[in-house]
């Protein structure tokens, strides 16, 4: 038996280690994807299949969950349904099989729209204000700079539930409760700490000389910022925007406490979609599936920037 005397360097791992690492990544990916896959599958199950025990992996797919998600329905006698004539669409037919008729659209689309407006609105504001603040913190001599930065970060240290009641009372006084504006402002405030800190790191990485060169070549300070600094912050801004969007999109506690009708977002709405005899699990799963899509699309579109952004500071060009 020969013993290998070859010394592997720290960076170059052996073939076995690579396989092992690869295997672990695959296992981890599968484990984290199971809940997602289950949600997507449940969206296509019938209500009895969705709560069957033992859980059904193989089932007959139906669009019932999605139809229920988008419509409100009422139960009618078979005679009444007969009198309506043949169903006009495939989803009419599907509903009538269960002795129901569609009475109108559900509130889901409205809630979904709220989520989009609030999520993207607050993300835009947080990144916009955060970029300006980060630039100022990075470049100017500001009195009490470190204290201010810590103060900004400290807003993240409190759980939402601890501040929810004061905010609720404040918002009622100001007429901001259950308005999209109120929620946008709140999410912006929460995300601002994240965006200021992240973006400050990115601005710190950009040498001042770029702006100074631009200023000497005839730009104003603001022009230098817009035309020279911003283009170099693209990756950082994209990464920050994704983090902010994910928070605002998924936020549940504030949304549950501060909105009820008008401005309610999708997260507090989806889990309480009631069907006959309790929660309508396929509709809940369908809503969740649709709810996941925008963040996934946004992330995939910006993934190159995101990767560069997350490893910020680690790699110098």
């Amino acid at each position: 038996m020969s013993v290998s005397t070859k010394a592997y360097s720290v960076s170059e791992s052996g073939k076995r280690t690579k396989w092992l690492a690869g295997g672990m990544v695959v296992v981890y990916a599968l484990v984290s994807m199971i809940p997602l896959v289950w949600i997507v599958l449940t969206g296509f199950k019938s209500p009895p299949d969705s709560i069957a025990y033992p859980p059904k992996v193989v089932f007959e797919p139906t669009m019932e969950g999605y139809v229920n998600l988008f419509t409100s329905r009422s139960r009618q006698t078979p005679e009444y349904i007969e009198s309506l004539g043949p169903p006009q669409t495939w989803y009419d037919a599907l509903v009538r099989e269960r002795n129901m008729v569609i009475t109108g659209p559900s509130r889901f689309l409205g809630r979904y729209w709220n989520s989009i407006v609030i999520g993207f609105g607050s993300t835009f504001l947080a990144v916009f204000l955060g970029t300006l603040a980060a630039y100022a913190f990075s470049r100017f001599r500001i009195p009490l700079k470190d204290d201010l930065l810590f103060f900004i970060l400290s807003t993240r240290m409190m759980p939402p539930i601890a501040v929810a009641i004061p905010i609720f009372l404040m918002y009622r006084e100001l007429g901001l409760s259950d308005t999209a504006l109120g929620i946008i402002l709140l999410y912006t405030a929460v995300n601002l700490s994240l965006s200021v800190w992240l973006l400050k790191g990115f601005v710190d990485e950009i040498p001042r000389e770029y702006e100074e060169a631009a200023v000497i070549d005839g730009y104003s300070r603001l022009q230098a910022f817009v035309k020279v600094v911003l283009p170099q912050m693209r990756a950082g801004i994209a990464a920050t925007a994704i983090f902010c969007l994910i928070f605002a999109w998924n936020e549940y506690a504030f949304a549950l406490l501060l909105t009820s009708g008008q401005a309610q977002t999708a997260p507090p709405f989806i889990p309480i979609i009631i069907g006959e005899g309790g929660l309508d699990w396929p509709a809940v799963a369908a809503g969740t599936t649709l709810f996941l899509l925008p963040v996934v699309i946004f992330t995939v579109l910006l993934r190159d920037q995101l990767l560069r952004g997350i490893t910020f500071g680690a790699v110098r060009k």
Binding site: P207, E212, V215, K317
Partner: protein, 370 residues
């Protein structure tokens, strides 16, 4: 092209005084080098001339016009940064033409001038490349191009060769000087490297701890240093300093150091403090059997045409630059003679050089560049 005048310029950051009361004039078309160790205030002075920092006190005049509080963009001054500061998201062409495009110059004119400058710097073939993959020297040329293309009143350069390899630095030194001779614009060049300064400057301004110590042609500051710091900072290996014994009246022609009496240029002022320091450059000492100072050879470094001999004497350890024909060996007892006309005496308390006949000859001219 312009004359830059600095009047009583001061800058402090909190309690730290970066520049303390400087006054001097940089003449039109001059290659003016500001030299000093890091933190001496040279870069701060440069940044104030550029308008990147505002002075705490004093005035800056550009061709007689007070620009002290003008914005950088209104001064018509070009700046070359140590780290080049090329815009990474632009090509070479766009980097060089950037100042012209900011001014809103017509496209054809921008193109013409950009290509002219690229030709001058021999980077025409790189015009449409990104700046990311360029070699350091080429990046430096692009940065220079961006400064030259404006035809600004003056060029300010902040250690522009600091980021280059030693070998390449010499080459760029020469190129910069040639470029200056062709373009002829007033240039203020900041460096901590005395060799760079000596080889390029028309005049050198030596600073330390925020103070301007001396301004003069390279030969002038080398031969007639105003302070002990200047004497030690310029020249490699640096000047030997020997502690003298006793005071000096005005008109003294000899100084006493431990172990010998050394003739020197006649002093024109009495030495007020009790302690004097004698300054002798390595090439102003010769090894001679009848030399007044005796010592033992501590080391010999053979350098081809010359050799550097280190000798331990009662007055301290001295470095002597000797021709390679002098045969000396480690441990040998030798005599040292001083070139009486070239010696400088410093007041040990103020560190200023003592006035003597050495300082009375007409000023030494710039030599190489005239």
């Amino acid at each position: 092209m312009a004359e830059i005048r600095i009047e009583n310029l001061k800058k402090h950051f909190g309690d730290f005084v970066a520049v303390n009361d400087s006054t001097f004039t940089i003449e039109n078309g001059e290659f003016f080098v500001m030299l000093g160790p890091s933190g001496c205030g040279k870069t701060t002075t440069l940044r104030m001339i550029a308008g990147l920092e505002l002075p705490s006190e004093g005035r800056i005049l550009l061709d007689g016009e007070d620009v002290t509080f003008n914005r950088a963009s209104q001064r018509d001054i070009a700046f070359v940064f140590q780290l080049f500061a090329l815009y990474p998201h632009m090509t070479v062409r766009r980097n060089i033409s950037f100042p012209l495009r900011v001014q809103g110059m017509a496209r054809r004119e921008v193109r013409r001038r950009t290509e002219e400058v690229a030709k001058l710097l021999r980077i025409e073939h790189l015009l449409d490349r990104g700046v990311g993959g360029l070699a350091a020297g080429d990046r430096q040329r692009v940065a220079l191009g961006r400064a030259i293309v404006r035809q600004a009143k003056a060029f300010l350069m902040d250690e522009p060769l600091g980021a280059l390899d030693a070998e390449f630095r010499d080459l760029m030194c020469e190129e910069l000087r040639l470029l200056h001779n062709r373009v002829g614009a007033t240039t203020v060049y900041v460096t901590h490297d005395q060799i760079e300064a000596m080889s390029m400057a028309d005049r050198i301004c030596i600073m330390n701890k925020g103070e301007v110590l001396q301004i003069g042609a390279p030969m002038e500051v080398y031969a007639r240093p105003a302070t002990r710091f200047v004497a030690g900072f310029i020249g490699s290996p640096s000047m030997n300093f020997l502690e003298a014994e006793g005071g000096l009246p005005a008109g003294a022609r000899e100084i006493r150091i431990p172990g010998a009496r050394v003739p020197m240029p006649e002093t024109r002022e009495p030495l007020t403090s009790r302690n004097a320091v004698l300054g002798a450059r390595p090439e102003h000492i010769t090894i001679r059997d009848d030399g007044p100072l005796r010592g033992e050879v501590f080391a010999v470094e053979y350098m081809g045409a010359r050799q550097m001999v280190t000798v331990d004497t009662p007055a301290g350890r001295l470095r002597v630059r000797a021709p390679n024909t002098v045969a000396v060996d480690y441990g040998e007892n030798v005599g040292l003679a001083f070139d009486a006309e070239r010696l400088v005496v410093f007041n040990a308390e103020t560190d200023r050089s003592v006035a003597s006949t050495l300082f009375e000859a007409p000023p030494v001219q710039g030599g190489a560049h005239g």
